[in-house]
Amino acid sequence: MSLKPHNGAAGIRADLLEISRMVEPGSRVLDVGCGNGELLDILVNERGADARGLELSREGVNASVARGLSVVQGNADTDLVDYPTDGFDYVILSQTLQAMRDTRECLRQLLRIGRRGIVSFPNFGFWRVRMKLMLGGRMPDTETLDLPWYNTPNIHLCTIRDFVALCDDLGITIEQGYTYAAGGKLVPYGSLWRANVFGDQGLFVLSYDDDVRVATDVAGESPAT
């Protein structure tokens, strides 16, 4: 993916640490698009999770398995259907959603397989992206979106507002929402307007509407305030 790592003190990507903290210790977790297994490693070793991965790139898979993680080489667009319903407490899609062929189906599968989904993606509504397009007239090139348009796996980019609308469409509850400000600092979601302009990336904890709703920063807040 095109994510530039923000390394924390321990040399671990800050966004991965943040995600791992959202997972209750000892949970069953599936990391879709797990790369070389960095997040899985944290989940297994720091959070005591029973964590598995699915990764497209052979190099990523082999690196993960060689470090003792349970990872399957496969394509999330076609292979998520193989996983059992409610097989996991959390299914994580970190910086992968925008590379999926069928985004809607992917989100449905995520919440079929897991009781909760944790999804992060680059926000195309971020003010720097808007400025680059408006002033430069070129495809944006930011810290998060750092690959040229002709060489990016990101085929379905969206804004945070787009994503929230899609969740609404699919009957998905946003339990928690965060954005990364530039520099990788995770901030509470706040208002949709703020998040969509100042968030470099969005990070959401999702569940289906019929699940028990959890009071969150987002729930009940009117959008676009």
């Binding site: 082999n62 003792g68 349970s70 990872v71 399957v72 292979d79 059992p84």
Partner: protein, 389 residues
Amino acid sequence: MKSGQNMNATTPDTGDLAVEGGITPLQAVPFRLANGAELAEVNVGWQAYGALNEDRSNVILLCHALTGDQYAAAPHPITGKPGWWDDLVGSGKIFDTDRFYVICLNVLGSCLGTTGPRDANPATNDPYGLDFPVLTIGDMVRVQAAFLEQIGIDQIFCVVGGSMGGMQVLEWTTSFPERVFSAIPIATAARHSAQNIAFHEVGRQAIMADPNWQGGAYYNTGKRPDAGLSVARMAAHITYLSETGLHVKFGRELQDRDAITYGFDADFQIESYLRYQGSTFVDRFDANSYLYITRAMDYFDIAADHGGVLANAWRDTQTRFCVISFTSDWLFPTSESRDVVRALNAAGADVSFVEIESDKGHDSFLLDVPEFHDILQGFLAASAQRRGV
């Protein structure tokens, strides 16, 4: 090891490697096979390296392939060649004998220690020949389980094997799931494909077309179907390699000559190589064993044993899996491994799956493929940590 057993302990020259083994009678006889037949006597040829730990939790079971044998890490008694996984088994190696008790059993139906069609039928004292019952991969594994129980092993830390060995690994995890902590099925499938049955049939027909085969009753005639078995091996050997591998290794290079001879001598290196493979094979392998073991592979179909649904075979499994395939393997292509992985995922199993890039074809699991070795190492280390071995 329990004492007081009837076994011929072998002490081959294996350097520092501690080896035990021999040919040991199975106590759980008569042994009933899947087809209903019973064997009144079964011997098991085996080798083990390393030492059992206090709670017998450090056992690695190696399952050999079609023409393999129990000599995984010690020199073969007939060919004198190093064991088939000599690179992987030993002190400080991937299957570390300082840490694990690594055991390999010759399969039922074979000809290197474990009872097979060449052995005497206790009812007649003549070799079985075709009176030997047709067996299955399941039968092989049940013999292994009974034998391991006999020597006091009821928990296997890791069962691992490639090709037909991989079939046994899968069978172990479905027949004795509670005994297997982790499993590494390599370059294998949950069922034998039509193409693979076809290749086996060519091999069997080559053997049976050899007049020296004599309906399988050749043992005391001074003649044996070497020509047929050799052709069977040549045809099979092609399937173990890849087109790229053959091209890189042999191309159209000529054998000890500067020009083609306009004849049917082995002009090309590949011909010479295959002829050599065929001719040396007959010295170490029995033609009837080849018929029986290929048949066992043909009959292998795990889904068929579980209501036609492969995932049912692994419901509630607690075994950790690492499924491995190779890009250039066209005998057991990646798609076959993927079917296994799909079923394991559906069953909620803890599974890893890697496809390793190699141009060495099906035989990659026996060759020096560093990435493959890294995967084995990583999976074993993580499994050992969880098991507390």
